[in-house]
Subunit: 167 residues, 4 copies
């Protein structure tokens, strides 16, 4: 499980006086990319190495609105991964009120810059193996920043350690 | 069923070279509000009269990316309505290629400006009745612009005709 | 002079109940790209042919706010062009009230995809010549859609006619 | 002088592979509101007390693009204040490369929620006096967070200390 905090900006509100619902989808992306970074898989490096992670789907349930200057605390995790696709789950609370603000999911795959799917198992075996082994442990651990994770080895071609994803 | 066309703007693309996925949620809103207008229920007038229609949830499946300058043709309809909540369904195709681009849903309710739910049946009976009768017909008709629809009567207090929602 | 109309979307408002000021900068872009299209220089084709037109600067003065569902009528023109850089001027009025809403400018150059400046005179002489000749006429004409403008010849390598820019 | 750091989000890029120019205008706002907070004038409290600070104008010069995951370091200051209007100046550098990325300005006034101008001197004398005295010192100091600044007294009716704005 990964935690991400984000204060609502003024330009993210609408005339209903609350954050416009489309912005939660953007916050999910911010949180997801920070989680990837914490897993030792900074998305910028992945893109530089020709791996894109487009969004196949999103969903969001709005429970209690977030207002300007309020902070959303998002917790997120990878809840499904089959070597080709994975799904993220999100849950957001207001830092100020503690109220549940939103729950959501997003689905993703790995592709080339031309948006052709990449079978991670085949082309990035170490990254795929580690994601899988993380899944198999069935344990919920906080993702650690590791300097040279094995997963990144596939991406930037340097030896590394291990990382685990909460499942 | 209602149809809405929208050309992708440059500022809606991201560095993947495609429209950023969050923008489809905004396009759904644009289409939805145009459909309400075509139903004789312009959202601006509803808000002016104290009726808000916040979003309770959204989902979107991305099938084929839309690129800058490409036009998305969205078809949308109300697929559930119980007097308090309703659900919209969306389907988008590229005007240029004909490819299915996205499918999605959004869930809504009616509230006061303080975001308290409004029971339409009780407070706006004519609007509610017409929406229901539209549903009961079970027929799929194109929504007609009627100058003074009965639904709007509830909102702006003038006598009106009939409008039907495709279901 | 070129005219562009744009209705304000709900998601473009902020909690002040007006269109957020940053969106005018986006609307300027929409209008500018429509003007380029009307000049026979669709930006998508320019980019496909390796010509980018990044923004060097923008300014906007806000005179009277635009609100949700209101339509901004933008008039725009190229007011300076020296073969390398050009400047656009914008003026926006509310379609509903006629009130002056905004005035603005944007400055641009032509570059390669790596953002290296392109000297249009040298590499795209016909496009540059036509822009210049348009300027020299000193006349204000509405830009016409011409099927195969000379300017486009430089871009897509086919013979073409003439186009003029209002100055 | 106030400093504000902001990492570029993926959804803020466009297909040119750089942050879309409109987003700098939004970042200026983020930085400005953080500066107001540091001055003891949190904008949320000002709005809650009926003082709005709409934007009268903006300008931005783009010197060197910011890319996804890069951090913009913005320094900003109030460079003009006449009791009714004030102007902010911005300068942004890339944290990673040190390159000058942008310079800009924004102009503002104080208004009621109905967007009627407020003469600060008359209606919020202490806040106005302190802003002026800050100006008169002619010194460049980093704005300190003070728990109960005099300025805020005007707004929320509690006694306070002093704050100074760099000019």
């Amino acid at each position: 499980m990964f935690t991400f905090e984000r204060k609502a900006n003024y330009y993210e509100t609408d005339q209903m006086g609350i954050v416009h619902h489309s912005n939660y989808i953007r916050w999910f992306e911010e949180a997801r990319l920070e989680m990837l970074r914490a897993m030792g898989l900074p998305y910028k490096k992945m893109e530089d190495n020709g791996i894109l992670i487009p969004v196949l789907g999103v969903s969001c349930s709005y429970k209690h609105p977030i207002r300007f200057d309020e902070t959303l605390v998002l917790t997120l995790r990878i809840q499904n991964y089959n070597g080709v696709r994975f799904e993220m789950a999100y849950e957001g609370h207001s830092k100020e009120t503690g109220l549940l603000s939103c729950t959501g999911t997003s689905q993703h795959c790995f592709t080339t810059p031309a948006l052709k799917p990449i079978r991670m198992q085949k082309h990035f075996p170490r990254m795929a193996r580690n994601i899988s082994s993380g899944r198999r442990t069935g344990q919920s651990r906080v993702i650690q920043n590791t300097k040279t994770p094995a997963g990144l080895t596939d991406v930037i071609g340097k030896p590394g350690g291990h990382f685990f994803i909460n499942l």
